[in-house]
């Protein structure tokens, strides 16, 4: 059962039970993006408000899903708030590095200690890598955020 406890760290369960930044924002001025996991039906809605100086002024999360997708979304919202879009993209890269398994089955290089520090609570999701089918749960909110940022750019 150690694997399971590694997956469901206390901090993950805490974000799941008390999700941060849950709710909606008025659109416009905020932007809304919706993502879902075709395998299981989990849905995430991201409301994003980017200030004129390019920082994330506010973010809210809606939708429903499992503890991993919900806690990941909650941690993400806490982590990106106040950051610039460029910083968010860096964080996204570190997080995906943490989650990903390279295509040929070899694990990617572990994120560096400074990247881990940067990830904060999100680093608790590291245990997910041992459960490949759950990686999509953990990355769903990030992919939705990515989509929201891409739509803002367009």
């Amino acid at each position: 059962m150690t694997d399971l406890e590694d997956l469901y760290r206390e901090i993950i369960l805490d974000h799941y039970r008390s999700p941060r930044n849950s709710g909606e924002l008025e659109t416009p001025p905020a932007h809304r993006a919706e993502g879902f996991n075709p395998l299981c039906g989990d849905e995430i809605v991201v409301y994003l408000l980017v200030a004129d100086d390019g920082t994330i002024a506010d973010i809210k999360i809606g939708g429903q899903g499992c503890s991993i997708s919900q806690s990941s979304a909650s941690m993400m919202s806490a982590a990106v708030k106040g950051k610039t879009v460029a910083q968010v993209r860096d964080l996204m890269k570190s997080f995906k590095g943490l989650m990903s398994i390279a295509a040929d089955g070899a694990e990617l290089a572990e994120p560096s200690p400074s990247e881990i520090r940067e990830l904060g609570d999100l680093a608790a999701l590291r245990g997910v890598v041992k459960f490949p089918t759950r990686i999509k749960c953990a990355t769903l909110s990030w992919n939705t955020l990515d989509q929201a940022l891409a739509e803002l750019d367009a």
Partner: protein, 412 residues
């Protein structure tokens, strides 16, 4: 009915059920997605590969003849198993999904156009929805939906209105989410009275209860081998000879023609017309061996075993989990199959399945390829436990233990 077999003794035929996960014996409760298979089925396939394998139909040498005989014997076995007097009504496909696509495209392509209508139910698996939606987008016909009623049963209040002028009713015989056994007699006679053909998605019923297409009265019946102890890579479409005869081919290629020139081709007779290319030869033989195995036990005994198990499960889970658990669908075991969709209070289906896996209990979370049904149920995922002949009450007990742990883990 012949004497009931010793179900506990059957388990020895399934090596995978004697493997362990996390140091605990595997409790496999996902047969509705795909069953496991007995040594007898693997042996039959290996034997063919090692003694009697060649491509079928066009060889005159001994091996090719042996292989052709084995393949065609499997067709006869399937025909007998489902009560079809004419084995040319049995078409081998790669899975039930291909069988349903065949009906939608070939029969639908020849019979459905703008202004026409067909009827589905919101309880269908995507395999019995998407092929029709694809054809509807191309041909412009209407799809009408029989809605969900109380307790996971279909709401047939408007059945006759929905069928009025419809050309096809395509419906599941048993829900893969709720286990609901649909009232086929009533549905088929109403459809036929309205002049509609009937296609049955029998994926969940053929493995678990006696099927008699000769008594059923449907026009098409589709199911998969891998849910009934057979290998992957094989499915079956049964269709009425006269309908199959009239239908245009589905896939084109070798084996389905009687002549080809640069000007065009002439299709062969059924069933060849619908079996383009090298068929799943050894898979058909494996399915034949699975049928032998099922028939040796007796389908009525299997059904009886599953009713008892479902009954035990419904009782045990409600008693032990109380308010914490919702078991969707009918509460009367004799009216449902051994498929239970569960919601655990405060725990998402994914997490249920993950924690259960820690206890070596295999249940499937998600939408079970039935998103319209999930929407009607108002849930976005359930954890589904499903039984087969190799399960017993001890599996249910372990399931209950593990569900209690999952609930404790998340709820506290």
């Amino acid at each position: 009915m012949t004497k009931a077999p010793d179900f506990a003794a059957l388990k020895k035929d399934f090596p995978i059920l004697h493997t362990e996960r996390n140091g605990r014996p595997l409790v496999f409760l996902d047969s509705a997605a795909s069953s496991q298979r007995p040594t007898q089925v693997l042996d039959a396939m290996d034997w063919m590969y090692n003694h009697a394998y060649a491509n079928v139909h066009r060889g005159v040498y001994g091996l090719a003849e042996a292989a052709t005989n084995a393949y065609e014997s499997a067709r006869l076995k399937v025909a007998r198993f489902i009560g079809s007097p004419d084995s040319s009504e049995v078409i081998f496909t790669k899975n039930a999904t291909e069988a349903l696509n065949l009906v939608a495209r070939s029969w639908g392509g020849a019979n459905l156009g703008d202004g026409d209508a067909i009827v589905l139910t919101t309880m269908e698996h995507h395999a019995n929805i998407v092929p029709w939606q694809m054809m509807a987008a191309e041909r412009g016909f209407e799809i009408r939906w029989i809605p969900l009623g109380e307790n996971g049963q279909l709401d047939l209040t408007d059945l006759d209105v929905l069928l009025d002028g419809a050309k096809m009713l395509s419906v599941t015989s048993m829900s893969n989410v709720l286990g609901t056994i649909t009232p086929l007699d009533r549905l088929i006679s109403a459809a036929h009275a309205a002049g509609a053909k009937v296609c049955i998605d029998a994926c969940q019923s053929v493995p678990h209860m006696r099927t008699r297409v000769d008594e059923m009265g449907a026009d098409f019946v589709a199911f998969s081998g891998h849910k009934m102890l057979g290998p992957t890579g094989i499915g079956v479409l049964w269709g009425r000879h006269e309908l199959l005869e009239e239908m245009p081919p589905f896939l084109g290629g070798g084996g389905m023609i009687s002549n080809v020139t640069t000007e065009g081709f002439m299709p062969d007779a059924v069933p060849s017309k619908f079996e383009a290319g090298t068929p799943p030869i050894v898979e058909a033989v494996g399915l034949g061996a699975a049928i032998d195995y099922l028939e040796a036990i007796g389908m009525d005994h299997i059904r009886q075993h599953e009713i008892e198990l479902t009954s035990y499960a419904l009782r045990t889970l409600s008693e032990r989990l109380g308010q914490a658990i919702t078991i969707h669908g009918l509460s009367e075991p004799a009216q449902r199959g051994g498929v239970m969709s569960i919601t655990l209070d405060g725990v998402h289906a994914h997490d249920v399945s993950q924690v259960l896996d820690g206890y070596a209990v295999a249940v499937r979370p998600g939408h079970h390829c039935a998103k319209p049904l999930m929407r009607e149920l108002g849930v976005n995922a359930t954890a589904r436990a499903s039984f087969y002949l190799y399960n017993d009450t001890s599996d249910v007990d372990v399931l209950a233990d593990a569900l209690i742990e999952a609930h404790r883990f998340f709820a506290t």
